[in-house]
């Protein structure tokens, strides 16, 4: 990405335009110069951070990484995160629900590995839920990565 300062306003482009007109004329086939400078985008965690307005630093355009304003309360964030966890666990349990339903209907016992996997999922859910509840900052909740499951 590149950018140029036009009368005080910094305008960004994915690449140098094929045609560019300024006070000196209409320019074709430009590859660099003419006021265009590279844009360096710093890495940031979009869950808790965002980019400031673009600015020129050391001959490149770049951004400051600033904290994102988080409007939800800590409790709301925890509730949301735990809800996401339950949704993930629920979708995993759903894959083997039919074993349990069949056992209730016909008495055919579900395989032990299925029973164990489901129990393990619930244990993990409880453990993770406890960890989330113990978090003390909004950032910690937002950056808490829920595990991925792949129960067949």
């Amino acid at each position: 990405m590149i950018a140029i300062n036009l009368n005080g306003e910094i305008k960004t482009f994915s690449k140098i335009p094929s045609v560019w007109t300024d006070e000196n004329g209409t320019h074709f086939n430009i590859k660099e110069g003419f006021g265009f400078k590279d844009v360096v985008t710093p890495t940031y965690d979009s869950r808790i951070e965002e980019l400031s307005a673009i600015k020129l630093v050391d001959n490149v355009y770049t951004y400051d990484v600033i904290d994102r304003v988080i409007v939800q309360t800590l409790a709301e964030l925890k509730t949301q995160k735990i809800s996401n966890l339950k949704s993930i666990i629920g979708s995993q349990l759903q894959k083997t629900d039919w074993f349990v339903i069949r056992q209730m209907d016909s008495g055919e016992v579900a395989p032990q590995e299925v029973i164990d996997s489901r129990a393990n999922l619930r244990t993990q859910s409880n453990t993770i839920g406890t960890e989330i509840k113990a978090l003390t900052t909004k950032k910690a909740v937002l950056t808490y990565d829920l595990p991925t499951f792949n129960l067949q």
Binding site: T21, D22, E23, N24, G25, T26, H27, F28, N29
Partner: protein, 136 residues
């Protein structure tokens, strides 16, 4: 019809000129041809509309119709003797930046790897439209 020249003798009143009626008949026939449709032909067009010239940095609209240049470095071209309605053609090649006087509207993309035909249409005192075609 070839142009008919009125005979005027060698010196005044030498009796060798065309009679008056003959002279004006030639004049009328010449004008009849000039005013007839189709009189203007490519051969009668001025050189500035049918010649090609190598460019340095100035595109002089009064000198040629087609201007050619191979860029060996970034180049800035200027225009001279432009007039509203004039259309000129630049055949430019070379993978370098090319700057022309500010154009109000531009179509096409210059490609430094091929030959480019840049057509300039003068639409105002300092208003130009550029369109670019490329060889394939």
């Amino acid at each position: 019809m070839a142009k008919q020249t009125i005979g005027i003798g060698t010196v005044a009143n030498d009796g060798n000129g065309d009679p008056l009626r003959t002279a004006f008949t030639k004049a009328n026939e010449n004008f009849t041809e000039v005013y007839a449709d189709g009189f203007t032909s490519y051969a009668r067009i001025a050189d500035e509309f049918k010649t090609s010239a190598a460019l340095t940095t100035e595109v002089d609209f009064a000198t040629a119709q087609v201007f050619t240049k191979t860029l060996t470095a970034a180049a800035t071209l200027t225009f001279a003797n432009t007039g509203i309605g004039m259309v000129k053609d630049l055949v430019i090649s070379g993978d370098f930046a090319l700057t022309l006087p500010s154009g109000t509207t531009v179509a096409g993309v210059y490609d430094g790897t091929v030959s480019n035909l840049i057509q300039i249409v003068v639409t105002g005192a300092t208003e130009y439209w550029y369109s670019i075609s490329k060889s394939i």
